[in-house]
Subunit: 249 residues, 2 copies
Amino acid sequence: MLPFSKASEITTRCGSCPIRFNAVCALCSPDELSHLDTIKSYQTYSAGDQIAWAGENMTHVGSVVSGVATLSSTMADGRRQMVGLLLPSDFLGRPGRDALAFDVMAATDITFCMFRKPDFEQTIANSHNLGRRLLQMTLDELDAAREWMLLLGRKTASEKVASLFVIMARRNAALQRHTPTGEGIFPLYLTREAMADYVGLTVETVSRQISALRREGLIELRDHRFVHVPDFERLLQRSAQEVDGGSLG
Amino acid sequence: MLPFSKASEITTRCGSCPIRFNAVCALCSPDELSHLDTIKSYQTYSAGDQIAWAGENMTHVGSVVSGVATLSSTMADGRRQMVGLLLPSDFLGRPGRDALAFDVMAATDITFCMFRKPDFEQTIANSHNLGRRLLQMTLDELDAAREWMLLLGRKTASEKVASLFVIMARRNAALQRHTPTGEGIFPLYLTREAMADYVGLTVETVSRQISALRREGLIELRDHRFVHVPDFERLLQRSAQEVDGGSLG
DNA sequence: CGTTCTCTTGACTCATCTCAAATCTGGTGG
DNA sequence: CCACCAGATTTGAGATGAGTCAAGAGAACG
């Protein structure tokens, strides 16, 4: 694992943690939280850092507090597919399994709230609420992965890219506890390459599709870091997505 | 259609159930099992039956005892993507959520060991082992879904079809608690259409790729119901899959 | 301010899809 | 038991969406 710096500045007590109500600890009682307080530690990585490699043994598991990380799978010849996008409150790691199945990279500077795996497994064994929440989150991720499979297997390039923006808009809105409608704006954490790996296209095709969406006024790029959506419903229609509101993990 | 027995014949006490050691109940104690015995019921469906529709409220959750079912997602214009394949011991349903996110169909005649959802949720709340096993299984399914995403997003048609056979060979072997090597044979439950929905191709392309694999001697069809693999390692190589041994869910 | 990396755009290629027709399979009724 | 039919599968020929290769424009960084 790459070197990382202590994040003493952002260390907080669980009770006032920004991801308190969405993370794996969301269902924990005050007692359980104060136990977590004693076994947690913060770790930070810089944008671009490889956090872990597929097959590696993770000594820690934990939650994203701030920043974005990607999970991806790489083939022998270099083809790569992103298989997970970790935003604040998302959980990284597999209690009960040693080896990590996928590569983990920091897409932005990122801070994790980590637990040594044995500590966490021990805590799960004693805290019903922790395991219950982890199951909920894992089931949600599974649903998201399956929606993502529909995108990868059956959507056109144009639908894929529109869907990507729909997903990002939704996940961004979800962090602020609402759902996107009408006009909105969200940060674009991913490079063209990461987007291409997300939707199973080449960078060139992603770039062309983004240009097309801009020409049609479905999106507008601001500062190269933000996406402004004038009419979310129009984008949604272009994505060929059902209206329900999945949020891909 | 593969032979199968009427539910009444296979109704058994949990202790002697064929999926006892892999299903969601695998970690349960004798006490817990005898409780499950009192709340379970068997349900059967015929090949081709739609077991449930996306968006529907499932009143029951449960395990496949024998037979095969598919989970799939359908777009408004009819495009369809399979997102899960349920074999014996796999679990269907989402404790804690009402609506089903995907369509469920019987690929062969199939028997489930079902629980009314409230009963099951109640039992989970009391039985640590049930929830623990469900979490394990869900995490495994998530890994499998993610490998599947690599297939959908980045593999060629030829690799996709070879991967499909690798996956089926592995899952079949896993049911008998071993891993495939060298020569082997397994049943082919899926139609060309289901295979196409699995790997995100058209039936024509799947058919062409199967013909190519046969010409090259990588597989051999027997009775149109079984696939004989003369050399599993050669097939594996063609699938461009890592050697580790995932088994897609 | 040059160097490097990312992104965009263009021209062309090719893998997979589409449309169409032939063949095979299993089931049905005479 | 056999002829026929409907559906599943295979195969062919041509169309096309996305990939590849290449060049130029923009940003980011020192």
